[in-house]
């Protein structure tokens, strides 16, 4: 029996959890330099809770949008913090996008990317260049849209997405933060990669693995 979309998303959340588990200390160190040193802890807690909840859910007849709705509420309630509302809103937007099309084909995947970027922007009132996770998500979503227009295959599409996201994350190193805790540091935030941007790259990598295999 082929893997349904809900199971695919479930696999995606599991991969996110394990990539973040591997990089937990790195993320926490990044946050220690310009924030409060909990980003790795928070992200693992949130995605761990999502994975556990999905493991308990009956995915057989679940539409993919429902998976994203569950993820939104579980993530939010597990972590609070900044990332809770940001990713919860992102996932709710993704759920809405999937409700419209109920398919995780290439167009659906890019719709999810764009919904995430939009949801984070909406909730956090931020934009590109603020030195946040948006510096990963916005270029990644744009790259996805462009690849889709070019009708690239999944491998190429996701390579472009990750490259764009990574480029954006690296670029935060030379930005002065204007949102989140790091904003209080002003110039002192220069020279450090934003932890939220770094963890967003991990999410993109997990998506790539699941959507290109």
């Amino acid at each position: 029996m082929a893997e349904n979309d809900a199971r695919k998303l479930n696999r995606m959340f599991n991969r996110i959890s394990s990539l973040i588990a591997t990089e937990k200390d790195y993320l926490t160190e990044l946050d220690g330099a310009i924030g409060d040193a909990d980003h790795g802890i928070t992200m693992l807690l949130g995605f761990g809770a999502v994975s556990s909840e999905l493991a308990r859910s009956d995915l057989d007849d679940m539409p993919p949008s429902a998976v994203m709705t569950i993820a939104a509420s579980v993530f939010l309630n597990a972590v609070g913090a900044s990332t809770g509302p940001l990713y919860a809103t992102a996932f709710l937007h993704a759920a809405k996008a999937l409700e419209l099309r109920q398919s995780l084909d290439a167009a659906g995947q890019v719709a999810v990317l764009q919904a995430i970027a939009l949801g984070i922007q909406e909730r956090g009132k931020g934009q590109r260049g603020d030195k946040t996770m948006l510096d990963t998500w916005i270029p990644a979503a744009e790259a996805g849209g462009a690849a889709l227009e070019r009708a690239s295959g999944p491998a190429e599409l996701w390579r472009d997405v990750v490259t764009a996201g990574e480029g954006g994350a690296m670029a935060t190193r030379s930005m002065v933060a204007v949102r989140g805790r790091a904003a209080r540091l002003g110039e002192r935030s220069l020279g450090h990669v934003d932890p939220g941007a770094a963890s967003a790259v991990l999410i993109l990598k997990a998506m790539t693995e699941v959507f290109t295999d």
Partner: protein, 333 residues
């Protein structure tokens, strides 16, 4: 860095379990979860409810300020993380006495997003919500961006005023207004000698050089606003007070309240040395201290450091400051 710890991932739950057992007299969980705690003798019909909250790691903040005459409920997040909207919503419902609910919490991106989501839900459920963000850390943003500043230990004063206003039966609008005034008249500067360490990592969040000191320290173990060479206690207080005097309108004959707060690992002996100089600086300007608190009021895990908060009083604030309250940490009779 060694700590008294079982499982780092359970420390907040275990702490709250201890809190609920220790302070039965003052608070109890709403709906069985210790993440939302309600005052036993707080909410009553006809009174505006006061909900405070934020991340853990600031003990006795903020749960120590729940009780008669102060906050009606507190929502508790993970370490240095805002609580999610659900426990905040539970607090709002439990604190509501039909006259609306006031939210007072520190101005942080995470807290703002979570409390705003909860406020929307509460409004939907028919509970009018007003919010005052505390923004007393004068080092965190220039004066033009007063509203963008973060809230630190000065929230002690803002909570106190808000709790008194609610307890006196003022309307939601008046409670909000006087709380906003308290916040606008509260000025804090924090300094750190050593960073704190998270239970999960058990190493300092960042390094402060052996001969350095951080000025403009927050309460989440973030680095300060500027690093300087270590100087004497009096010189530190002088720098802090100069910053505060530059913003405060207090003049000769004014009255203030003072909080000298340990960030966790700085002992009281040193706080008294700091207070001594604060008092000297104030009295040199002819400003009188109406009341003062010295100790652990709003901490940042085991950070070595301290903050100085000054609230400029007027007649209304003075009355509310002395209004009786009875909580685990603060008792005024």
């Amino acid at each position: 860095v060694k700590k008294f710890l079982n499982d780092p991932d359970k420390i907040v739950e275990e702490m709250l379990d201890g809190v609920v057992r220790a302070h039965r007299k003052y608070l109890s969980p709403i709906d069985k979860s210790n993440r939302a705690l309600i005052a036993r003798d707080g909410p009553r019909s006809g009174k505006v409810g006061l909900v405070i909250g934020g991340g853990s790691g600031h003990e006795p903040g903020f749960l120590g300020y729940v009780g008669k005459g102060l906050a009606d409920a507190v929502a508790v997040g993970n370490i240095f993380s805002s609580p999610p909207p659900i426990p905040i919503l539970h607090c709002a419902k439990a604190a509501s006495g039909g006259e609306g609910v006031l939210f007072v919490y520190g101005n942080y991106a995470g807290d703002v997003m979570n409390f705003e989501m909860a406020a929307e839900m509460a409004e939907t459920a028919g509970i009018p919500i007003r919010t005052v963000l505390t923004t007393d850390d004068i080092t965190s943003s220039p004066i033009e961006d007063r509203d963008g500043r973060r809230g630190v230990a000065g929230n002690f004063f803002t909570f106190k005023i808000a709790g008194a206003a609610c307890d006196r039966g003022l309307s939601l609008g008046l409670c909000e207004a006087v709380t906003r005034k308290a916040n606008m008249r509260t000025f804090t500067v924090g300094v750190a000698l050593e960073a704190c360490s998270m239970p999960q990592t058990q190493r300092p969040n960042f390094e402060i050089g052996a001969k350095d000191i951080e000025f403009g320290m927050g309460i989440h173990g973030e680095p300060g606003v500027i690093r300087e060479k270590m100087i004497s206690a009096d010189e530190i207080v002088d720098k802090v007070m100069d910053r505060i005097f530059a913003e405060m309108k207090a003049v000769e004959g004014s009255r203030v309240a003072v909080l000298v707060n340990s960030f966790g690992a700085t002992p009281m002996m040193e706080l008294y040395v700091l207070f001594r100089r604060v008092e000297q600086r104030l009295s040199a300007k002819g400003i009188a201290i109406e009341a003062n608190w010295i100790g652990h009021y709003c901490t940042s895990l085991d950070m070595v450091g301290a903050s100085i908060s000054i609230m400029e009083l007027d007649e209304e604030l003075t009355g509310l400051l002395h209004h009786p309250c009875d909580t685990a940490v603060l008792k005024i009779t």
